[in-house]
């Protein structure tokens, strides 16, 4: 004790003899020396040694070897020493679980200590020791501490339940701690209430559907009372919890709002933001004509502005949130433009955010001021900031028509500065201005053309090329300008190449006589010398168009362009709603839903704003509260109805290209059966085939080669004028070399835009040249550009997995549709699905991850070498037990046996023999699935009776589960 006093004195008098000496690096044999000191008889020496150990631990040295020696120091009345030992224990207990048990007794004893501070310390520390054996011993002390007479102990115990739940959720439930925790919400001490709320909220997050928090008007009332009394942090926990509640009607909503608004004057910005979140959310339910609604809107603005005088880091958080609020409710801050003016000394991250908000708030009323500011910013030093400022000027022009002229002249001034990146940025935005106001500002083109040489960024080059192409008729030397770009065609980025191709075609259509050579040149560069499929495709389309029907070409290429919208960069509405529910949190800072950056299931739950209710409906929905009570929100990824556990699995996968890795599935008996069935298959039938997938892989290689060769052949056929019309052209895409006529089901919508924040996916499956392809049509129905696409499958019955990444090369802009075809392999992880051909898919883009499921026709899996030897067929047919045989009927099918046989053959269903008995044709067929399972079938076709058009089919297979699918497939093939 003396030593401690001395230490304190030292600190007070500023002496040099202080803790820092522990940080000095010690020589070799350090551990050995420490060991000796830890076992010293002298208390002071012991304590010093423990301090040294902690210092080493801090800088990352491994001092776990000292575990027993440190734990020996635990039995002490010196609280400082005890806390140090506890700190050590929390760090190393996991690596030395058996030794950690040694500490249990002390903990249990400390939990009974007369001093509440020590009781709390023990229970707090014990919860941090993540060793199974210790948690068992923790239960009894924890139970006592939850009911301790001292509030300090209770508030600590409340958090400890959350800790224990993190280690062993089941234990917490079994021991009934959750109920005790719920009781603490009614505790007399506000801090206990706050911590209990925090703990319950966290636990509830990992049980999205449980009714843990049980929010109802009574408990809400308790929370609101505690809100007035607890610490600033407690207020945050309570407000964040309140935000999950769904009031039953607008009256309740209003009364909660009234009790939350005083928090807007709190000095703690987090309290303010959490209060804003509650208000923004509950406001949704208030009728707009209500007086209170207007009052509330007015009350929200001042605190938001005040947040901007906080420290820069908080300003940043506030600005990111204000950005959302301004998009959701622009009226709140529409008069506050000035506070977002950038200060010279603002950190860059604050500057960029302010600029963003300025653009959103720009209107006719304030445009003059805004423009003057933006012009000022465009002369600053930071390149990103300057670029954004220039871009902002362009956005203002598009947003406020009256200002367009001034904006354009400002931009021209900026171009005169000749600062390279300013010029480039200006040209990019001027292109947008041209699109918004056609035939208005083209007089500036001459000035733009002067700067052609200085452009070195793809976006600026592409914009300039677009301008030249679009206004080719007004630019005398347009052909020369474009030609100059053509020299380095292959060094340009795709963006520029595509733009150049289009621009030259436009030029050709406008001035056909002088530019024939140029267009020939660019078409051949794009089609013959390029590896980029987008460029080649576009090249071919132009080529064919121009060679078949120049008039049509003109109509297509020079068509009037749709006007661009006023607002850009808006967050897609459903995402915005979700983010509003996350005000103040990281999600609102990143502008991404929690699922995009949080691992595991925690917090992945999607939140929604409540719906507005009429005041008359107040009696109608008593159960809304209880439904919402558990989660406050519905869980969105319910698109895949069943197999909840699988979904979790899928969510956990990182969306990187094909995964054959990953932990094995937690297989139940049923699933094991499934795997056995599909994996092992028919051993006897597979015979000596040691590599059942060999054929498949070979097929895909061949297909690759086939594709490689195609482009070389293509131009020749295209050179023939009037080739074959557009129909042919579109076939070129992927259909070369495939056996004609294979049945491909029509595309169906798999993922409606409503469920996927504007991304619509429809698709189908095809088997081409031995390769299974998933053909997808992605349509962007949202307002923002989508990028970074990736795809992933859940484990499925036949191990389908993407054989490569999803090739979406360019960003998908609003209202754009693209077709993608994704080659699939069958070597992915296997798990039996219900139905068998069900496939669960996750698609990711820059906005979110979406899930859907679809069913593939099993015929995709029929391999090309599925023709069985007659003898083998006969033997196998006999060998398969009769109970495995299934009979099906195909109604109304007007096919004779030969036609049917041909059709089926195209889908790799091979006819091995044909017999005619009593006016009935019997076709014997064999099919081989990609995983080596053989399916045998007998098809009976009535030949004699034209009125009798039904076909009968018997399917026999060692794995009878597939029969149904096979039949469905045959039916589909025959009827199409």
């Amino acid at each position: 004790m003396e030593w401690a006093n001395q230490l304190c004195e030292n600190r007070q008098f500023g002496s040099k003899m202080t803790d820092s000496k522990y940080f000095t690096t010690t020589k070799k044999g350090e551990i050995f020396e420490l060991k000796a000191e830890l076992n010293s008889d002298k208390k002071e020496k012991k304590k010093e040694a423990v301090k040294k150990v902690i210092a080493s631990m801090t800088v990352g040295k491994d001092v776990s070897a000292l575990f027993p020696d440190v734990v020996n120091c635990m039995q002490t009345d010196n609280l400082e020493l005890k806390k140090l030992v506890y700190l050590y224990l929390m760090n190393y207990a996991k690596s030395q679980p058996d030794m950690a048990i040694m500490a249990v007794n002390t903990f249990v004893k400390d939990c009974e200590d007369p001093n509440p501070l020590i009781r709390a310390l023990a229970v707090r520390t014990m919860g941090c020791i993540r060793v199974d054996k210790i948690t068992e011993y923790l239960c009894e002390p924890l139970r006592k501490c939850l009911k301790d007479e001292d509030p300090y102990v209770r508030k600590t115990a409340a958090v400890c339940v959350a800790k224990l739940h993190d280690i062993n959720a089941q234990l917490v439930e079994d021991q009934g701690f959750l109920d005790t925790l719920k009781d603490l919400i009614s505790d007399s001490n506000p801090m206990v209430v706050a911590n209990a709320v925090a703990a319950l909220s966290e636990i509830a997050e990992s049980h999205p559907n449980s009714n843990l928090l049980d929010l109802n008007p009574q408990s809400i009332n308790k929370l609101l009372t505690a809100l007035n009394e607890c610490t600033e942090w407690g207020q945050i926990f309570i407000l964040d919890c309140l935000a999950n509640y769904a009031p039953r009607d607008d009256r309740e909503s209003q009364s909660i709002c009234e009790r939350v608004t005083p928090r807007l004057s709190h000095a703690n910005s987090a309290v303010v933001l959490s209060a804003v979140k509650v208000l923004m959310k509950f406001m949704e339910m208030l009728p707009k004509d209500l007086d209170y609604y207007g009052t509330l809107l007015k009350k929200l603005a001042p605190p938001l502005v005040t947040l901007l005088s906080a420290e820069p880091e908080l300003q940043y958080v506030a600005l990111r949130n204000i950005n959302l609020i301004v998009q959701k409710r622009p009226e709140i801050l529409k008069h506050e433009m000035k506070v977002f003016f950038v200060k010279y000394n603002d950190p860059i991250y604050v500057k960029l955010e302010k600029l963003d908000i300025m653009i959103r708030l720009a209107s006719q009323a304030n445009i003059a001021q805004v423009l003057a500011e933006l012009k000022e910013y465009a002369t600053e030093v930071d390149v990103d900031f300057v670029r954004k400022a220039v871009r902002a000027i362009g956005r203002c022009a598009i947003k406020v028509e009256q200002s367009a002229e001034r904006c354009v002249s400002t931009l021209l001034d900026l171009i005169q500065t000749k600062v390279n990146y300013v010029v480039q940025e200006a040209i990019v935005v001027i292109k947008d201005i041209f699109r918004k106001y056609p035939n208005k500002y083209e007089s500036v083109i001459a000035t733009l053309c002067e700067n052609l040489d200085s452009l070195d960024e793809p976006e600026a080059r592409a914009a300039m090329i677009w301008i030249v192409g679009e206004y080719a008729e007004r630019i005398d030397n347009a052909d020369e300008l474009l030609e100059s770009f053509l020299e380095g065609f292959h060094d340009e980025s795709t963006q520029v190449q595509l733009q150049l191709l289009t621009a030259i075609v436009k030029l050709f259509l406008k001035k056909p006589t002088e530019t024939q050579e140029l267009v020939q040149q660019v078409l051949s560069l794009a089609t013959q010398d390029s590896d980029n499929p987008d460029l080649r495709d576009r090249g071919y389309i132009y080529w064919r168009l121009l060679s078949t029907d120049p008039v049509a070409a003109k109509e297509v290429v020079l068509a009037e362009k749709p006007l661009i919208s006023e607002e850009t960069d808006l967050i897609e509405p459903t995402l915005l709603e979700e983010l509003i529910c996350h005000i103040g949190t990281l999600a609102s800072v990143y502008h991404k839903p929690p699922s995009a950056f949080v691992e595991g299931s925690r917090g992945v739950m999607h939140k929604r704003l409540p719906a507005r209710t009429g005041s008359g409906e107040s009696t109608e929905s008593p159960d809304v509260g209880t439904i919402a009570g558990g989660s406050g929100t519905e869980t969105a990824p319910s698109i895949i109805p069943s197999q909840g556990d699988l979904l979790g699995d899928l969510l956990n996968l990182d969306l990187a290209p094909p995964t054959t890795t990953g932990p094995p599935p937690p297989t139940s008996g049923m699933q094991m059966g499934g795997m056995d069935l599909l994996g092992g298959g028919l051993d006897s039938l597979m015979g000596d085939e040691s590599e059942p997938l060999g054929g498949d892989i070979g097929g895909s290689a061949a297909m690759g080669a086939g594709f490689g060769a195609v482009p070389a052949v293509m131009p020749a056929s295209l050179n023939a004028p009037m080739g074959g019309g557009l129909g042919d052209l579109f076939d070129l895409g992927g259909g070369v070399g495939m056996p004609l006529g294979a049945y491909i089901p029509p595309k169906t919508v798999w993922l409606p835009a409503m469920k996927a924040k504007g991304l619509e996916i429809s698709g189908t499956f095809a088997r081409r040249a031995g390769v299974i392809q998933m053909e997808l049509t992605l349509t962007n129905k949202a307002m923002s550009v989508m990028t970074d696409f990736a795809i992933q499958f859940n484990r499925n019955s036949f191990g389908l997995a993407p054989a490569g990444p999803l090739q979406v090369l360019s960003p998908l802009s609003p209202n754009q549709t693209i077709e993608v075809s994704l080659p699939l392999s069958t070597v992915g992880p296997v798990m039996k699905m219900e139905p068998l051909n069900n496939l669960q898919v996750a698609v990711k883009n820059n906005i979110d991850v979406f899930y859907f499921s679809c069913q593939y026709p099993i015929s995709m899996l029929f391999v090309e070498d599925g023709k069985m030897e007659r003898q083998v067929f006969l033997a196998t047919w006999k060998d398969i037990p009769n109970e495995n045989e299934s009979q099906f009927q195909i109604k109304d099918c007007h096919l004779n046996s030969d036609a049917a046989s041909n059709k089926l053959q195209a889908s790799n269903i091979f006819t091995i023999a044909k017999r005619t008995v009593e006016g009935q044709d019997m076709l014997y067929m064999s099919i081989k699935l990609s995983n080596g399972i053989w399916v045998l079938a007998e098809l009976r076709v009535q030949t004699g009776n034209p009125n009798y058009t039904d076909l009968e089919i018997s399917v026999k297979c060692r794995a009878p589960e597939v029969s149904q699918c096979v039949f469905q497939c045959c039916e589909a093939v025959l009827k199409n």
Binding site: M1, C8, R11, D19, K51, I54, G60, E80, K83, L84, Y86, L87, N91, L117, R124, C128, Y152, K155, T156, N189, M191, N195, N228, T231, E232, W233, S265, H266, A267, N268, S269, A270, V272, L273, P302, T306, S309, E311, P312, E313, L314, Y316, A318, V339, Y344, N345, Y349, E373, E376, T379, E380, V419, G584, T585, L586, S588, P594, F597, V598, E599
Partner: protein, 436 residues
């Protein structure tokens, strides 16, 4: 919630590392060092996401404090907590420096254990913490003392302990304002606001109840309408009132009472604390006006003339006046002439710094400078940063006046009249800039 807390020195060496959650590993410590501290470029965001782990950081002098999490935490709370932690540490051992942190690392661990539990911030009022985190053990405490500590830490009035006694009951009240201005070269006010703080030092016995009143427009208009006694109405409406845009209060102030009655009542913490912050934008008295004149004479010379005018009562004196006139990067030499004070060209700061010790109201002064430039072939134009100004004036630029501060303590025998009260107004420059 917060998964871990790290403190680094400027080199990126770990001084303190405390992990609260199992999902944060040791590698997180290194990830932050490599990606943020050692990153070459400027910090582009105070929140960094590295491999699905989010790092929040603040800097105090050359010390980095970082909070780490893998969850969707309340970001505002994390920053508020980091600031609070700095306050607590400063209250214990003064300036946050590498030396002080190393010297007190055991104490810091003890504090971190107390104010953050499983990543949830707990009571972090220094007043309360100092009662039981003393680094002297708690052996000497009696049972009563112990329960007093715990009830204070968890209680409704966590910021004040019972049984405080002073021989002389005294109150110091400072109205500290910083006035911010952005003005165009032509003298147009682009934006101006005052952010003010009411800082108190109270040395009062017992558990006094205080009530604070100022010339808030809403209160005074209400009083005027409310038909209170004529005298009151006259005396109050006679004074000028100010429109307060927004205010925030120390947690001791009863917010619901302010919301309903707009009255500021509270039980004060002991010692120094910030009672409230406020912001005004209307009718601000701008103490100084800066009139710049910059002329480019050829490509190698600039002529600058700056006039400052003081705009307040002639009887008052402004102090610590400093005008900072930025100069281009390619400045080779500067000649300055000023009427008052001292002016110097500081090459390292790329600015002419003009200092005047004192200046009375309604006066003006002038500086002129000739700046020689080196010829450059740099295409980039000089950004012309604004001219900034610092000063201190003995009044509140917002016009705020303290009307009363009443103290009630029913249990002890002293009344409002026995309390000695001191009020002081200081107006300082915040960001006070004029573009040129």
């Amino acid at each position: 919630m917060i998964g871990g807390l790290f403190i680094y020195n400027h080199k990126g060496e770990v001084l303190i590392s405390r992990v609260y959650r199992d999902d944060i590993g040791r590698h997180a410590v290194d990830a932050f060092r490599v990606n943020v501290i050692h990153a070459r470029q400027q910090v582009r965001s105070p929140v960094t996401n590295i491999a699905r782990t989010s790092f929040f950081h603040v800097k105090r002098s050359n010390i980095w404090l970082a909070a780490v999490t893998k969850q969707n935490v309340n970001a505002a709370m994390v920053f508020e907590f980091l600031y609070k932690m700095c306050d607590v540490m400063a209250a214990y051992f003064g300036k946050i420096s590498e030396e002080n942190i190393k010297n007190n690392f055991v104490l810091i661990y003890e504090l971190l254990d107390e104010i953050l539990d499983f990543g949830y911030p707990q009571n972090s009022e220094t007043g309360a913490l100092k009662t039981f985190i003393t680094q002297q053990g708690i052996k000497g405490q009696t049972k009563e003392e112990q329960s007093q500590i715990t009830s204070q830490v968890t209680g409704q009035i966590g910021w004040r302990r019972e049984g405080i006694k002073y021989r002389r009951n005294e109150l110091f009240l400072d109205v500290l304002e910083s006035v911010n201005l952005l003005m165009s070269p032509q003298g147009q006010v682009l934006s101006a606001h005052v952010s003010g703080r009411v800082v108190m030092k109270s040395y009062l016995s017992g558990m006094p109840e205080c009530k604070f009143g100022m010339n808030d427009k809403i209160v005074i208009d209400k009083a005027g309408k409310g038909g209170v006694t004529d005298d009151v109405a006259k005396s109050t409406t006679g004074k000028q009132s100010i429109a307060i845009d927004d205010c925030t209060f120390n947690q001791c102030v009863r917010l619901s009472k302010f919301d309903s009655e707009r009255s500021i009542s509270f039980i004060p913490p002991d010692g120094e604390y910030e009672l409230m912050r406020y912001r005004t934008t209307k009718d601000i008295i701008l103490p100084f006006r800066v009139i710049p004149l910059v002329r480019e004479v050829g490509r190698t010379k600039l002529e600058v003339k700056v006039v400052i005018k003081s705009n307040f009562k002639p009887s008052l004196l402004a102090q610590k006046i400093e005008v900072r006139i930025p100069t281009p990067l390619n400045t080779s030499g500067v000649q300055v002439i000023c009427m008052k004070g001292k002016a110097k060209y500081k090459a390292s700061e790329n600015a002419i710094v003009w200092k005047i010790k004192r200046m009375a109201g309604m006066k003006e002064s002038q500086i002129s400078a000739e700046i020689e430039l080196l010829p450059t072939n740099d295409k980039k134009k000089w950004a012309r940063p604004p001219i900034s100004m610092n000063f201190e004036v003995p009044f509140a630029p917002s016009g705020l006046k303290v009307r009363y501060l009443k103290v009630f303590e029913s249990k002890l025998n002293y009344s409002d009249h026995d309390v000695i009260k001191w009020v002081r107004y200081i107006g300082r420059s915040g960001i006070y800039e004029t573009r040129c």
